[in-house]
């Protein structure tokens, strides 16, 4: 009787496994077109970049089909054109450092501002939530370039902020906000904050607010409720939002170009320079791949630490 039972269970389980495998196969088939597009559009150019990064720079741009590791060398080191002495490429290091620093700060500021916004929207009555979400997405309607110039108009020396402050008599001299790291930070935060708000909102919307009540009931203060109940439960949204803000910030081009005024370069500008005025395509390709590695490394560290923290609650 009992053995029969077990064998029945086993055959049932194997049926379940088969059904699951069938489903996986069917899903794979359905996603084939998307996979083909992704492969051609992402892997193709990447492959070209990889090959280019090991070639010699052409005299007027382009590449000479001659194997060389010079581009990879130049990513980190600088060779003096006269006496061939080698030193660390300070310019590159400082640009990479600025990019990472500004992207990190952008993510942080976007989180600090975006989290309360997402909370606000999620706690509105359902019929008004879509209106608030709509307002959040309005900036996407306008071209990034135009929005960035709008910020420039606001913060430049004769811009809106300075004019108002001077008229009100708060300051005598205009504040130098344009062409600083702060300007880039402001611009990037403005551009990418919806990418932080939307995933956090999606998590927050699924949050059972009765859990918040339960925590209040169990003597948790507002901050404790936030730290011990709300944040852990919306963490998937925070992780997603941080990734969505950090990665494009790291590769940002338009914002640092306009608001940094060419003085405060980020990786994106540096890469563009190599393909343009610099006429050093291999270096541009090597820098792009370096950026890719940095992004992947940061992602892996972040996701792993987020997972570890998540599973830590279980044991």
């Amino acid at each position: 009787m009992s053995t029969e039972h077990i064998s029945n269970n086993e055959s049932f389980e194997s049926l379940e496994v088969q059904a699951y495998q069938r489903e996986v196969r069917r899903n794979l088939l359905l996603s084939t077109p998307a996979l083909i597009v992704l492969f051609c559009a992402a892997s193709g150019p990447l492959l070209i970049m990889l090959v280019f990064s090991f070639l010699t720079a052409g005299d007027y741009g382009g590449v000479k089909w001659q194997f060389s590791t010079e581009a990879w060398f130049q990513v980190a080191f600088y060779r003096d054109i006269f006496d061939e002495t080698v030193s660390i490429a300070n310019a590159h290091v400082s640009i990479f450092w600025r990019s990472i620093k500004l992207s990190f700060l952008t993510t942080l500021v976007a989180f600090v501002l975006g989290f309360p916004t997402a909370y606000f929207i999620a706690t509105r009555p359902p019929e008004t939530r879509s209106l608030w979400l709509f307002l959040v997405t309005i900036p996407f309607w306008t071209n990034l370039l135009i929005r960035t110039f709008a910020i420039l108009e606001i913060i430049r020396n004769q811009g809106l902020v300075n004019t108002v402050l001077i008229t009100l008599g708060v300051i005598d001299q205009p504040l130098d906000m344009l062409y600083t790291d702060i300007a880039i930070l402001l611009g990037m935060t403005y551009v990418y904050i919806p990418l932080m708000i939307l995933p956090i909102y999606a998590s927050m919307e699924r949050l059972d607010f009765r859990l918040v009540e339960a925590a209040y009931d169990l003597y948790a203060t507002r901050w404790q409720v936030l730290a011990r109940v709300i944040l852990p439960l919306v963490k998937p949204g925070v992780v997603a939002g941080s990734i969505l803000v950090f990665i494009p910030s790291l590769g940002a081009y338009v914002t640092p170009r306009i608001l940094g005024g060419g003085k405060h370069l980020m990786i994106g500008n540096l890469i563009e320079l190599q393909f343009g005025q610099g006429r050093n395509w291999p270096l541009g390709a090597a820098l792009s791949l370096t950026l890719l590695v940095i992004v992947m490394g940061a992602l892996m560290v972040y996701v792993r630490s987020a997972q570890k923290e998540g599973s830590g609650h279980g044991h």
Binding site: D208, R210, L211, E213, A214, A215, Y216, D217, L218, Y219, A220, T221, Q224, R228, V229, P232, L233, G310, H313, G314, H315
Partner: protein
């Protein structure tokens, strides 16, 4: 000064949407005193205001008028986390990102107890609700009944002065619900904490409570021990909501100090002990429980005459539906003692015999 009052609700009203033009009165001038160590139940249909009253005591809502005292101290203005009151929620509201032990220890941790204290109390609570084996499980890895136990342990762990229970058994199946009813009574005895229990299930209310408050449309209609509520309902709604009741209108013929004589629709006149504050004449409503009426046999005094329309066997009892000329039939319930039932063919003319002492006169 024999019984101390745990919770004193004084003339509390709660109006939702005040000032919006769409005002909903959830509680209308409610006053009730709940004694210490009492198992007190708020019973009523959904929307009667029982959950609102519970949420006012917990601090999730604030009263529009009136005040709430906990052991003599005004708590109306305190936020939930400053009230020594804990709630067992209808859906349990357990933290899904914490283990069973972490859930139970949450309140203690928030109170700032030391790690050892938390561990000791959590251990004691786990054994109180018999969940020691599952202490490291995640919430989604345990059954509904087990979640219920964790929710109870979590709310009891900080030793609140009052435990509020918001229909905690409604999500469980019948058998588990019966077990938990016994379990809850046991927990209340062992911990000595005042329980305020909200339910719409009259049977649950009658079996578990020391006292029951029957609510409807934002008001408390009657407060009393289960047998008082059942045997002496003072209101038509109470009589109707709790158990089955036959309502018969009658006409007062005359009354004196102790007794009242009235005429039933059948024309039969009966005398019953007169409650005070009853008019000298006019129409009144009588309530008669099905099990307190009998099918008259030879020699019984017949109170009401009618003809049998239906006979329904329900296991322990048999119910007889008798047409007595009113809109709904009169129901008589007879216990099936010794497995025998009295079989009466439909259409038979039968007499119904009622002990005058069991008849309730209702205010309308």
């Amino acid at each position: 000064m024999s019984i101390t009052v745990a919770v004193d609700v004084r003339s509390v009203s709660k109006i939702f949407g005040a000032g919006t033009g769409q005002e909903v009165t959830a509680l209308d001038d409610v006053s009730v005193s709940i004694a210490q160590n009492e198992f007190f139940t708020l019973l009523g249909p959904s929307g009667c205001g029982k959950t609102t009253l519970l949420r006012l005591i917990a601090g999730f809502e604030h009263a529009t008028h009136g005040s709430i005292l906990l052991e003599g101290a005004e708590i109306s203005a305190l936020p939930p986390f400053q009230r020594p009151v804990n709630t067992v929620f209808q859906n349990y509201a357990l933290f899904p990102h914490m283990s069973v032990s972490q859930n139970i220890g949450f309140g203690l941790e928030m109170q700032g107890r030391t790690k050892d204290e938390v561990a000791d109390t959590v251990g004691a609570m786990l054994s109180l609700v018999k969940m020691e084996n599952l202490k490291d499980r995640q919430i989604d890895q345990i059954s509904g009944g087990q979640q219920q136990r964790v929710a109870l342990a979590r709310a009891l762990a900080p030793r609140p002065k009052v435990l509020l229970l918001d229909e905690p058994l409604s999500a469980l199946d019948l058998k588990l619900r019966k077990e938990m009813q016994v379990e809850l009574k046991r927990l209340q005895h062992e911990t000595g904490i005042t329980f305020i229990f909200v339910t719409h299930d009259q049977e649950e209310a009658l079996t578990m409570s020391d006292r029951v408050a029957v609510m409807n449309e934002g008001r408390i209609l009657q407060v009393g021990a289960p047998h008082e509520i059942y045997n002496r309902p003072n209101d038509r709604f109470v009589a109707d909501f709790i158990g089955d009741t036959n309502f018969i209108s009658a006409e007062i013929i005359e009354r004196d100090e102790n007794e009242i004589r009235m005429r039933l629709p059948s024309g039969i006149e009966i005398m019953i002990p007169a409650p005070p504050d009853l008019p000298q004449s006019g129409e009144i409503t009588l309530a008669i429980r099905p099990e307190q009426a009998r099918i008259a046999s030879d020699g019984d005094a017949v109170s009401i005459q009618g003809s049998l329309t239906d006979e329904i066997y329900i296991g322990t009892d048999t119910q007889y539906y008798i047409d007595i000329g009113t809109t709904s039939p009169f129901v008589v319930r007879v216990q099936n003692a010794n497995g025998e039932t009295q079989r009466i063919p439909p259409g038979t003319s039968v007499g119904i015999s009622v002990d005058a002492k069991t008849i309730q006169i209702l205010r309308d």
